[in-house]
């Protein structure tokens, strides 16, 4: 049985030591205490974004009197349901800034957390399959160069070298080139949540699973406590960092968010030998493909067009995605699909996230990451920690406030990124 003691530092020596003891004494990666009556900061949602927020509150601001509460299990929402793609080739400056901060943090995250998140900067290509997309992606490359984000435009010949299994002359949409970000890639999604959880637990924070929020208590416009399935938990500051159910939590606090919840699906194939060592996204036909370390082809597609909280989506979207990918990568046509799943993503009108204060004092929201939340986890946590600690947003979060909808200052990525985000 694993003990309830903290796990200590992971290293090759720790493995050797434990090997001598038949691996009987590995400590738990994080402790799961019962909630106390009160914390300085309560974070709702122990997914990647919530745990990263807690971690950077501790690391950058020395705040460790924190509870991260989660209605299900840790990382069991969208953190465990995405296609693990990481990139920062966004068109708008505020997006490029926060996603590139995120990518830079990912690059050293394993060392930082002392937990192998298996970050694999294998490179990422977004295919241009129409003249419009060629112009759009060239524009993004120019914008990225001005933002200090290294991306490049590549011609079909170079693309074929990078992705030998691609069919450039598809019957419907020939591949005309691509937007290439060599620093982009993938990471192990569960490990990101687990690594942050372990680091938070080591700092003395409480991670409380199976603890559903049933109400938010306010007094004179200030947040006072959350009522949960494990009782009332008082707090000085409250951060709502959930995906999918952001609207429901906001309603408990008495305000409405510019968000709609829809299902996004993904699927993986049986494992095959290594055949593709980059991530390929095809936005015209709504499909993206990468190969996991286990050899499975990981497939992502488009969102459904209607509100849904059931974590399962429309069959015809899967069909559409697979059809497009088979056309682009003919060799996958005989692959059997092993698993298919859906996650509930919260979509904003401009397809950019919300990191913001709210009408309720000391209550902050981090939501609206839509279909692209995983890549944003470290940067989101970094910016959210700054917002919660100081009560006002830092440079990364400043443009992502709720006020932008009222004022018309959109960070419009819906045109730039399309649906595959």
């Amino acid at each position: 049985m694993p003990t309830a003691t903290p796990s200590g530092r992971y290293s090759v020596f720790a493995i050797a030591r434990q090997a001598l003891r038949q691996h009987q004494n590995w400590g738990r990666a994080w402790v799961s205490p019962e909630p106390r009556e009160r914390y300085k900061v309560v974070i709702v949602g122990a997914g990647g974004h919530g745990l990263a927020t807690a971690y950077y509150l501790g690391k950058n601001f020395g705040i460790t009197d924190i509870a991260v509460i989660e209605k299900g299990w840790l990382g069991g929402g969208n953190t465990g349901r995405n296609t693990t793609i990481i990139r920062s080739n966004y068109l708008q400056d505020p997006s490029a800034a926060i996603y590139d901060k995120s990518l830079k943090l990912y690059e050293t995250l394993s060392q930082d957390l002392n937990y192998n998140v298996m970050f694999s900067p294998r490179g990422l290509i977004m295919l241009a399959q129409t003249e419009h997309e060629v112009r759009g992606y060239k524009r993004t490359v120019y914008a990225n160069n001005l933002q200090g984000v290294s991306t490049e435009w590549i011609e079909p010949a170079r693309l074929k070298e990078l992705v030998p299994i691609i069919n450039l002359d598809g019957p419907r949409y020939p591949v005309l080139g691509g937007l290439y970000q060599a620093r982009g890639g993938t990471a192990r999604h569960d490990a990101v949540a687990w690594g942050y959880a372990r680091a938070c637990s080591d700092m003395g924070m409480h991670i409380i699973q199976n603890c559903e929020v049933t109400g938010i208590e306010t007094d004179s416009g200030q947040v006072r406590a959350v009522n949960t399935s494990k009782g009332r938990i008082g707090c000085e500051k409250l951060a709502l960092v959930v995906a999918g159910h952001s609207s429901q939590l906001a309603e408990m606090a008495g305000f409405r968010l510019p968000i709609e919840s829809v299902a996004l699906q993904a699927l993986v194939s049986e494992p095959i030998k290594p055949c593709m060592d980059v991530v390929v996204m095809a936005n015209t036909v709504h499909g993206y493909l990468s190969q996991s370390d286990k050899g499975e082809m990981v497939v992502g597609g488009g969102t459904d067009g209607y509100n849904n909280f059931t974590q399962r989506g429309s069959w015809h979207h899967v069909e559409e995605t697979v059809r497009a990918l088979v056309e682009t990568f003919p060799m996958i046509s005989r692959l059997k699909m092993l698993r298919q799943w859906g996650g509930i993503v919260d979509m904003t009108g401009d397809r950019s996230p919300i990191l913001s204060g709210t009408p309720v004092g000391n209550l902050y929201v981090n939501c609206g990451w839509g279909t692209g939340g995983f890549k944003g986890i470290p940067g989101s946590g970094w910016a959210m920690a700054e917002l919660v600690a100081n009560g006002s947003p830092g440079p990364l979060a400043a443009d992502f406030g709720l006020g932008r909808f009222r004022e018309g200052r959109f960070i419009d990525e819906s045109v730039a990124a399309g649906v595959a985000h």
């Binding site: 510019p258 709609e260 059931t310 015809h316 909808f405």
Partner: protein, 111 residues
């Protein structure tokens, strides 16, 4: 697959024939509206986990816009009705009550 019956042409249309159009019964905000009202009209959707009234277009059929009552938590369809109404009709409401006896409409019938 989601199937909605078009109240105009009567066809039981599969999802691939339909185009979703978001929340129904929104009240337009005119030039006299405040900034708050305009923001609410444009962005603040109800996004309920449960009964949802929404607009759909029978895009690959008769082409008409109609309204549907659907449950976002169970995916049950309670009924469809014509777009020229300010509130869901009584038969749709009673269909909702069969599955969700505690559900309360957020409008008053007199309006």
């Amino acid at each position: 697959m989601l199937i909605l019956t078009c109240p105009y042409c009567g066809v039981a249309a599969e999802e691939t024939e339909l185009q979703p159009g978001g929340e129904a019964h929104l009240k337009r905000v005119g030039p006299e509206g405040s900034d708050d009202e305009l923001e609410g009209y444009l962005f603040a959707r109800k996004n309920p986990k449960g009964v949802h009234f929404e607009r759909w277009r029978h895009a690959y059929g008769c082409g008409k816009w109609f309204l549907a009552a659907r449950d976002t938590a169970t995916l049950q369809v309670y009924g469809t009705y014509k777009a020229q109404t300010t509130h869901p009709p009584a038969d749709v409401v009673s269909e909702i009550r069969k599955s969700r006896p505690d559900w309360q409409p957020d409008w008053t019938q007199a309006e």
